[in-house]
Amino acid sequence: MKTDVGQPGLVIPDNDSERVRFEGLTDEDLAQCVHCGLCLNACPTYRETGLEMESPRGRIYLVKAAKEERIPINETFLKHIFLCLDCRACETACPSGVQYGKIIEAARGEATLVKPGGTIPRSLRWLVFKQLFPYPRRLNVLANLLRFYQFFGVQSLVRRSGILRLFGKLLEEAETLLPKLSDEFYAPPKVEIVPARGETKHRVGFVTGCIMPYFFGETNRATVNVLTRNGCEVVIPKSQRCCGALSTHAGARETSKDLARQNIDAFEPYDLDVIISNAAGCGTALKEYDVLLESDPNYAARAHAFSEKVQDISEFLAEIEVDTSFGTVAKRVTYQDACHLAHGQRVRAQPRALLQAIPGLEFVEMKNSDHCCGSAGVYNIVQADMAQRVVAPKVKNIENTSADLVVVGNPGCMLQMDNALAAGGVSTRSIHTMELLEEAYQAAEMNGNGADGKE
């Protein structure tokens, strides 16, 4: 008998006694938490609910209690574990150095993805995590089907007909959040290597992301352009796969491990200086491959070497001598700290410094810029109610800045904020840091003092 845990597609597996509970999680990991409570108000779900079970300290205590078999691993337990956004704001707040991400992800491993049974949402989850993200060609086919769906009037027909309501609230909500496809997909170049403009100073790998080529083609193009403008030869291995962040957050650790191994195989042969990610969520996952594969004898050392090389694009640009011959961008912008950049990777100052180097750009900080927007991977789909509550103060804080653009280093946040801003009647729109940078370079080129021909 399997138990439904209130999370579509997830169940608690039976034969409880034979399983190792909380794989990879030691008593020391949990003992690191001294129960001081300094994390409480950093946590978006605690701020919303005021409930200790929905706080980092509470969830750690639950895991500790479950591991000691004081409480059962049941629906109630997993409900709290899955209401966490995995935003890691608590890790920033924690003076004791608790690795909360490791704890929550191990706890999520206690639920298992099942094959389709009964409900549509359950099948959808299984389909997405097990059958779609890991396979780039399937994603490609789907993206082309989606293009048909969005560009030939089918979407508006479906939306008007309300037909999705027949399949349940979740699918309907998922459809609403479905982003518009990029006008042009980001097709990785035929050759896997894009040469630097001018002298080659760095040899970098680029992680394109699994869905970014389809929904964020512009972001990827901008990232590669910014890199080549800065003397980077960009290597984009064709055999790279989804980073595995989404499956890790969903508790499907074995899927993530397979993906991690494939990515290590894909990038390893190129002898790269760094491996660049332009999506905060992916970057954090890639930087944690060493933890994910620590018990794999064939990959542990290689995963460590791989993770060491991973950098967020803004982090990398801050370390090299970046070409700042930007043209004028006369816009008022604010910056949203993507959780997995600010908390996951401790990258805060670098993107701000890049933005402030753009002439004409008026930079204004919003209140609580490092509070989560509620996007959190697929959280805004599977936990739509809480995601709405979490994003509400964000919309208000952005509105108070009167910014034209909210700049962010993670595509998921762009979708979530754009939807919420539009719904709230706020005209600010999101943009990825690299797109704004590329815009600044292009502005310079149009004025004839281009980035290429720098004086």
Partner: protein, 483 residues
Amino acid sequence: METRELVGRLQAVVGAEHVVYLPEDLIVFERDASIDAQLPAAVVFPRTTAEVSEILAVAGELKVPVVPKGAGTGLSGGAVPEENGILLSVSRMRDILEIDEENRTALVEPGVVNLELSSEVKHLGLYYAPDPSSQYACTLGGNVAENSGGAHCLRYGCTINHVLGLEVVFPGGEVAWIGGKAPDAPGYDLMSAIIGSEGTMGVVTKILVKLLPIPEAVETYLAIFESVPDACEAVSSIIGNGIIPAALEIMDQVVTRAIEEAHHVGYPYDAGGVLIIEIDGMQEELDEQREAILSLCREARAREIRVAQTAAEREIVWKGRKGAIGALGRLAPNYYIQDCVVPRTKLPEIMRFVEDVAERHDIIIANVFHAGDGNLHPNLLFDVRDSDQVRRVITAGEEIISACIDAGGSLSGEHGIGTEKQEYMDWLYSEEDLEAMRKLKRAFDPDWLFNPTKVFPTGEGPHAAKIHIGKAPVHATAAAVWK
């Protein structure tokens, strides 16, 4: 009394979703930031004063014990539930109701987080002064219950010096206002009885606090010494020379190393003692104090004095200091933090005694404390799974308390008595003293339902008996209640 009946009555007041009673949920409420643990019967989350009043009426009728709770960051066990009792959490009551810029006051609900109040009024050039180290998370309701202090209380005083009025719901459900915007209400000063009463007299539902103008200038120094007693001497001589800085905080080497790992503040690894000195006020005033303070530190053998040059540098110095207790988690899974106060001039002597105790009992004691107030915080580090170590920690703790009392000091500067220090109350007070206090509590709480097993000694012996972080499965017992 059946738990089922109690839960039903509470649900009728606040709505079903605002009562927590499932055993696997209740477990996270068994502790605050201290080391004691006890499961409640139910946790209730009221939103309004009226709901609090109704809850207390139900508790009075059913004779169920009540423990009020803020964020649960307290260090003395004040928010640890009572057996078969109600835990009343104010975490949903977190609105700032009024900011009166001209009178410089704010009216807040008890669940408002300490630091959030300051950040809400920052644009008006105002702030709320008491700053306990847990201010990122602790609530103003909890601050009132414990009369919380903080690093800057040396100059500005504790919570009691910043509260002008309170709305209190007394046991049984009666609602009353005490104090107000006009100072010095005639009659007995009930506020002094309520503030610091540790949840033994009622539930505070609204708090009227003073706001202060943000000082024109602030300067922060790190004075580095070879030893903690040297740093203590510097503190004594600064205050002895008539200078009252905003804060004087000492940390020993164990603490500075732990903080350094957590926050990379730039504390030296080899320093025996670090003294944070902060002065604030008018720029001219600071200019006068600066030289005097620096030369007094040098006289006390400071080997180096660093100046935090920017607001960002100051912030990181304080972030390190305020995260000090949590950072100790890097050294051991449990800590027992003490809170004794001694006359300032006795500090060097007491700190040498603490060092000696650590050595004799073979335990690590980390010291981080409000030196200006003579308020020590020896943190006795241990692992609760090692029972011999636990015993040594308790004995060492008792020796320190005893020495502080002998030096003319007291049990607690700001953390409260709670469960942690209750058995030592009769070391400080006579039975007559304690009986007088019990009479005061009974005047508010005749049925003795509010935090009934705390503050006063139980006669059950030393605190060691109380370190009983539960290991028994709770689902078995709870299943019996609910199936």
